[in-house]
């Protein structure tokens, strides 16, 4: 068990180190003077001031030295200070993390509920066909466009939901639905596919022969088989939620990690970019670990094998 934990910890560190190094390299490879980009277009700043900024940020030192001091800082758990905001990176990410977590959690919940509902209730050939068609349309539409569409209908047209602002908690509904739709559609496809495959298995006939109805067959047997595939997608989904958050947050004017990321990339804010990359890498690692731990819960065969080996 200890060996296993040590292995996981080592792989986490390697992933984080790789991510940090890639971030640093990418920052060096992009052409152009980072200080000019940071200052933005039409900044009326003399070269002396630019040199001052450059030496203050250590950008005038040799790349290897910059890399080592950068890694050294990271090792001490110090993500540094945002170039743009002059705030610790942990604060920059921290102050916007909450709203992204709320949004993605709610979106994930809606997506899972939608996918399950479609998988459970779209039973017949026709209804499954319709569901598959709708899913295809949703999956092929840009998140951005879905958002504008929902806004036009439910916010501007019907006036059911306010668009923005911190005053009303209902502002989270439309962005969460927007983010949930493509994820739900993908989950639904995989889930239904898994269920259909399971239903063609010989044991499904056995279960039916024992007198189990469609509902019991699905909820106790085939859903479990279908869910394994869907669960594997979880890591990908976390990525698409974070990526989708950029667009959704822009359309619905919500603060969040997506907006921070976008701004940090356009403004060459390396410390913030690094912080976000490390955060995303960590999130992926954790999600993958959790998913791995969930498999045995879904699939008793894996459980026994694992226990047997331990």
């Amino acid at each position: 068990m200890l060996v296993r934990i040590a292995g996981i910890a080592a792989s986490v560190i390697v992933v984080l180190w790789g991510a940090a190094t890639l971030a640093f390299l990418a920052f060096r490879v992009i052409p152009g003077d980072p200080v000019s980009v940071m200052l933005g277009p039409q900044a009326q700043v003399s070269d002396a001031v630019k040199d001052g900024i450059r030496s203050e940020l250590g950008l005038d030192r040799p790349p290897l030295e910059q890399y080592l001091s950068y890694l050294g800082q990271l090792l001490q758990g110090n993500l540094g200070e945002s170039y743009q905001l002059r705030m610790p990176v942990t604060d920059v990410i921290g102050r916007q993390l909450g709203s992204t977590l709320q949004l993605t959690a709610l979106a994930l919940l809606i997506a899972v509920v939608l996918a399950l509902a479609v998988a459970l209730f779209a039973r017949g050939r026709v209804s499954r066909g319709i569901a598959a068609g709708v899913e295809l349309v949703v999956l092929s539409s840009p998140v951005f466009w879905i958002g504008i569409l929902l806004l036009s209908v439910f916010a501007f047209g019907l006036g059911w939901f306010p668009v923005s602002g911190t005053r009303n908690p209902a502002t989270i509904v439309l962005p969460a639905v927007t983010l949930a739709l493509p994820v739900g559609a993908l989950l639904g496809q995989v889930l239904r596919d898994g269920i259909e495959t399971a239903e063609r298995q010989p044991w499904a006939t056995t279960v039916r022969a024992r007198g189990a109805g469609q509902v019991r067959l699905t909820s106790h047997h085939t859903l479990r088989h279908g869910a394994a595939g869907a669960l594997t997608l979880a890591a990908y989904l976390v990525g698409s939620l974070l990526g989708g958050a950029v667009l959704v947050e822009t359309v619905f004017a919500r603060p969040g990690i997506g907006r921070v990321t976008l701004a940090a990339i356009t403004d060459r804010d390396l410390p913030v970019i690094t912080g976000i990359i490390l955060f995303s890498a960590l999130a992926f690692v954790i999600v993958n670990l959790v998913v791995e731990m969930f498999y045995p819960l879904l699939d008793p065969r894996l459980r026994r094998v694992r226990q047997g080996r331990a």
Partner: protein, 537 residues
């Protein structure tokens, strides 16, 4: 059987988590005080959260637009371009134009209680001029290298001196870029001013910044003691100004149409044309240098004046601008916009679209052969120019570029366009290895032409280097008489119309859509809403 147990608990956990989420959402919802009323203002504002909350350091219009309600200035610029007292009751300029002496009001306090006095003026101006501050525009408006220092004469008298006559100073002093923070804010939270927040961006203005959620909203609350507004304006007539940051234009249009916002700024022309008649659409042309093309005369074919003139005459600017901007933005005829003091209206219509004229200019310049694509040639060289554009490029400007490319290809003039990331752009912009590039520059004082046309100008993308022009620009900055200055800038505009270093295309406007709930809204010279006399009902 641990597993089924876990499974049974999962839905419960999920439910609890979901409820917690909803409850926490409720908790953060503010209490709405109906007292005194609220104005909701939707703006674009995407850049505010990346360190642009401080007009003293930021060069972006949006920083000044929102923080104006917090930052007062020494003087106020009226709509006719003249100056009236604000925080300064009186001012004199020394005979040689190098020293400005301001007498300050003695009854002004910052919203943190600190008094506004000569020391506060000095602290702010010194901070702007300090290279450590890395101010991207305010420092150059404060004279840049010409700024000699600020001296406290007595508690309410302050002297600002320059190393040479600096005529644009009063205009600069009327902007939020040279507005005043509380000395305590400068003392204790100067590092946080860029990021911004309540208790940090503290000024003397009619409102106090009380809540800030980056990328979402800024809440300003009335300063009840305010009694020193421009033209005698007192405390605001409503309690809360809520600025909603909505980067997506259709969303801004949507919230003002549905009444969720009282007014929305930065409305693009295509959406402005679609808004219903129940809204008032105020379109205020930005003063300054219109959106223009800068022809680099030191790199390629633009060295020849005839080629530059042919380029300008070969574009059907009227048609393209009218169509792309739905008639909301006027086509520009001069390198100063029509609302800029010193604008030369006589240039209107003086260089119309004329394909025949453009063709004969190119023939005269020796570009007479044609290659297989119909592009003109001279001595085996194609008549081709490379346009570098800075991302992001708006859809409208991209459409305009297409129109320009297609118009010019009709006269055998090829325009290759490269849309570049900021870093890649700067790599070509620095050594000036391009034929043309584009931007607009807003500003009220004609001196903005100095950075664009002076040999040492930092935005001189056309690479103009002419002692006579340098002389005019230097004279413009040193002349304090308004009419004399206007004559100088008119001479410069006339010169460009012939020389064609810059091809002005259109004057963008700040379009604000206003609901009928709002009355008394006015705009400053930059077209930004002013809330001094606004009431809601």
């Amino acid at each position: 059987m641990p597993a089924p147990l876990v499974r049974r608990f999962l839905p419960i956990t999920a439910f609890v988590a979901a409820s917690a989420l909803v409850l926490s959402g409720c908790a953060s919802a503010g209490d709405e005080s109906a007292d005194g009323g609220e104005v909701v203002w939707a703006i674009e504002g995407a850049n505010l959260a990346s360190g642009h909350m401080d007009p003293q350091t930021s060069q972006l219009d949006v920083s000044s637009m929102v923080q104006r309600v917090v930052l007062d200035s020494l003087v106020f610029q009226e709509s006719d371009g003249t100056f009236s007292p604000w925080l300064a009751t009186d001012w004199t300029v020394s005979e040689d134009g190098t020293v400005y002496t301001f007498t300050l009001r003695d009854d002004v306090t910052f919203t943190d209680g600190a008094p506004f006095d000569a020391d506060a003026v000095k602290a702010n101006f010194d901070r702007i001029a300090d290279p450590e501050t890395a101010s991207a525009q305010a420092a150059s408006m404060l004279g840049g290298d010409f700024y000699a220092g600020t001296e406290v004469v007595d508690e309410f008298t302050v002297e600002v001196s320059f190393t040479q006559p600096y005529a644009p100073f009063l205009q600069a002093a009327s902007t939020p870029l040279l507005g005043f923070y509380s000395p305590e804010a400068l003392e204790n939270s100067v590092e946080q001013l860029k990021a911004g927040g309540p208790g940090i961006n503290v000024g003397t203005g009619p409102f106090e910044l009380t809540e800030y959620t980056p990328d979402q909203e800024i809440v300003y609350t009335r300063n009840p003691d305010y009694a020193w507004g421009p033209d005698g304006a007192g405390a605001a007539q409503f309690e809360t100004l809520r600025v909603e940051i909505l980067p997506e234009a259709s969303v801004r249009a949507g919230v003002v149409e549905s009444g969720e916002a009282d007014l929305a700024s930065n409305i693009p022309p295509n959406l402005a044309a679609e808004l219903p008649d129940t809204l008032t659409i105020d379109s205020n042309e930005y003063p300054g240098l219109p959106y223009s093309l800068y022809l680099n005369e030191k790199y390629g074919v633009f060295a020849d004046e005839k080629v530059r003139q042919a380029f300008a005459r070969g574009i059907d600017i009227d048609a393209a601008v009218e169509e792309i901007f739905f008639g909301q933005f006027p086509r520009a005829w001069s390198i100063l916009g029509s609302t800029t003091p010193g604008y030369d209206a006589s240039l209107e219509g003086s260089w119309p679209f004329d394909q025949d004229e453009a063709n004969s200019l190119l023939d005269d310049a020796g570009w007479t052969e044609r290659d297989t694509d119909g592009i003109r040639m001279k001595n085996g060289e194609r008549l081709s120019v490379r346009w570098i554009a800075y991302t992001p490029v708006s859809d409208d400007n991209a459409a305009l570029a297409n129109a320009i490319q297609s118009d010019l290809s009709d006269i055998g003039f090829e325009v290759v366009r490269e849309v570049l990331e900021p870093g890649a752009y700067n790599e070509q912009y620095g050594p000036k290895t391009f034929d043309l590039t584009d931007w607009g520059f807003s500003g009220v004082d004609g001196d903005l032409l100095r950075s664009h046309l002076h040999t040492d100008g930092f935005q001189n993308a056309s690479q103009v280097s002419d002692p006579e022009i340098d002389g005019l620009l230097e004279q413009g900055i040193a002349t304090s008489d308004t009419d004399e200055r206007a004559a100088i800038y008119q001479q410069l505009q006339q010169w460009n119309a012939e020389y064609t270093a810059i091809v002005p295309l259109y004057s963008p406007s700040l379009i604000t859509a206003v609901n009928d709930t709002v009355s008394g809204l006015e705009y400053d010279l930059y077209g930004r809403p002013m809330f001094y006399e606004v009431s809601v009902g």
